[in-house]
């Protein structure tokens, strides 16, 4: 549970006292989590400009550095930790146009997009967001050229394969929603393995919407309800919106309703993504193409979210 100790205790390094920044998302009982961005030197380890997370035991004041939290990005000063959205959804749009602008093949755009994706996962993880849902592949995307869809799914498979163990180590739970019946067997198997491997003790949940559509989600939820009625688990007169909501694929998370939806590339639509779940979600449309969407743009989105007055009409 507690972190590894450095060879030289931190009391003897430049970090002598740690400013308290936030305790709202401490994952360790009895410890206060800090975020420090210091350069520190020791006789055996040199880490320059690395952001670390250090923990101070509330009982005896001893300081530890958790290796698992190395390279965490500190929260920008313009963002307030208590106003961070719990669930952020992202429509990663614009890879193809980005590649076209650069004179590159479409595949290059998708590869560049994966870097932005990894970056946003890291930022969400670092800044206390509980759930990130990304629209990786829409049901509508199946009409794209077969070469492109095969490349995308292959890229997706390789990305999961390379990240599963690290996600497990960092407490990132991977969940996949969508109609997986059309996916290649190897990918289906990879998804099942990733979900099983990462399901324990999640500090952060990453939901990947693959072959997903909001309408499909509602339809499959209705089908599940119908099955329950057929099996005698439910009566017809009990069917209401709450019953349907419980059968949506986003019931895999404690926070199924996104607080913030970000869409890149300047399109102003939700494109059949999480239709049911977006009733009270704040929309942030950004003109940047997805491979160009980085930390600054994400901070802008979060800052905009935090500055808005949110109302739920008494139906949240």
């Amino acid at each position: 549970m507690f972190s590894l100790r450095l060879p030289i205790p931190l009391e003897k390094t430049l970090i002598t006292s740690l400013p308290k920044t936030s305790t709202t998302y401490s994952a360790y009982s009895g410890m206060t989590r800090f975020q420090v961005c210091h350069r520190y030197l020791s006789n055996s380890i040199t880490k320059r400009g690395t952001s670390v997370v250090a923990f101070q035991d509330e009982a005896d004041g001893e300081i530890f550095v958790d290796e698992d939290f190395l390279e965490v990005d500190p929260l920008p000063v313009e963002l307030q930790p208590e106003l961070m959205p719990k669930h952020v959804a992202v429509i990663m749009d614009g890879n193809g146009r980005w590649a076209k602008m650069k004179g590159l093949p479409t595949s290059a755009g998708h590869v560049a997009g994966t870097q932005s994706f990894k970056w946003i996962v890291k930022l969400c993880y670092s800044w206390g967001i509980k759930v990130l849902t990304v629209f990786a592949f829409s049901m509508d995307n199946w009409i794209r050229p077969k070469v492109e869809t095969e490349f995308l799914l292959n890229l997706f498979e390789r990305s999961i394969l390379s990240q599963v163990e690290e996600c497990k180590r960092k407490g990132i739970q991977i969940s996949v929603i969508g109609d997986t019946s059309k996916l290649p067997k190897s990918l289906k198997s990879m998804i099942a393995n990733a979900e099983e491997t990462t399901k324990e003790n999640p500090k952060f949940q990453l939901i990947l919407a693959v072959s997903y559509s909001g309408k499909y989600d509602v339809v499959q939820a209705c089908k599940s309800v119908a099955k329950k009625v057929q099996d005698g688990l439910l009566h017809l007169e009990e069917i209401n919106e709450n019953i349907i909501e419980k059968e949506l694929e986003t019931n895999c998370t404690e926070f199924p309703y996104p607080d913030l939806l970000i869409r890149t590339s300047g399109e102003l639509r939700v494109s059949n993504f999480l239709l049911w779940q977006l009733a009270y979600t704040e929309f942030f449309f950004n003109k940047k193409l997805w491979p160009d969407f980085g930390k600054d743009e994400f901070v802008e989105a979060l800052s905009s979210f935090q500055n808005r007055q949110r109302r739920y009409g008494g139906r949240h």
Partner: protein, 267 residues
């Protein structure tokens, strides 16, 4: 000792001056950012007035044909201002937008329906129009009034209707086995429970929050969503600009978008 005390005092003075300098710099930056923010707001207001008075020529001709069905979401608190809602509809009528869906979460607009129809002489309710609203002759406005109950609750009612019907016919197995066919059943059932309107091409949100506030989710798969600010500060120029931008921008759909009918498109 005196030298030491003097050095100590000098150090404190320098620190204090440095701290004051940083504070002044911070306030200066805040002023710059606030000024830029107000300049942007003023710019938007002036642009809106220039559009209203026809100064900006590019907004003079709108190709309304692309906008077949418009939805307007209004915060329920603002929806009580019936005169503003009527004014908004009159603006839309004047630019040629004839098919409008009005939504507020609590159904305030539904209660104001009679007043609105009395004020707008040439408007009809969608229930009165038999043919596809996107194809009727543009001699009158067609208005649809929608609230929260027409969204998720309507889907639940539609699902219930299907299950009841199929259980009576002992055919629930067919519904379960063929998930794809359930979608057209749901579309038909939604029509039966009263959700007749097509999918809007454009949805304008009047309110403080950039959210569609529970507009029927089934109908906004590919709808463009534009936040217009509070209804209290609605401007004709901003409305024209939003419609103009919709008609001019190339929409990057992943499929050929069908007409705005509740459809089983996108197979």
């Amino acid at each position: 000792m005196n030298f030491r005390d003097g050095a100590h005092n000098l150090y404190h003075i320098i620190v204090a001056i440095g701290y004051l300098g940083l504070q002044l710099l911070w306030y200066f930056l805040q002023i710059i950012v606030s000024a830029w923010y107000y300049i942007l707001i003023a710019g938007n207001i002036f642009e809106s007035y220039f559009i209203s008075y026809g100064v900006l020529k590019k907004y003079k001709s709108l190709h309304i044909g692309k906008l077949q069905y418009l939805a307007i979401v209004i915060e329920s608190e603002d929806a009580h201002q019936t005169s503003k809602v009527v004014k908004l509809l009159q603006w839309l009528d004047s630019v040629g937008v004839k098919n409008v869906c009005l939504y507020d979460m609590n159904g305030v607009l539904k209660k104001s329906k009679e007043t609105i129809f009395q004020t707008l002489k040439n408007a009809k309710s969608i229930e009165e129009v038999n043919e596809d609203v996107t194809h009727h002759a543009p001699d009158h406005m067609t208005l649809e009034f929608v609230s929260y109950v027409d969204g998720k609750e309507a889907v639940a009612k539609a699902a219930n209707l299907i299950f009841v019907k199929n259980f009576k016919q002992h055919n629930i197995g067919g519904v379960l086995d063929h998930q794809i066919s359930l979608e057209p059943h749901l579309n038909q059932a939604l029509q039966i429970v009263g959700c007749k309107g097509p999918e809007p091409d454009l949805l304008l949100v009047y309110g403080p929050v950039r959210s569609h506030l529970g507009f029927p989710a089934w109908r906004i798969r590919y709808t463009e969503i534009v936040h217009m600010g509070s209804l209290n500060f609605m401007r004709y120029g901003s409305l024209i600009k939003a419609i103009y931008n919709f008609t001019k921008v190339r929409h990057n759909y992943d499929f050929p978008k069908a007409s705005s009918q509740p459809s089983t498109r996108n197979k």
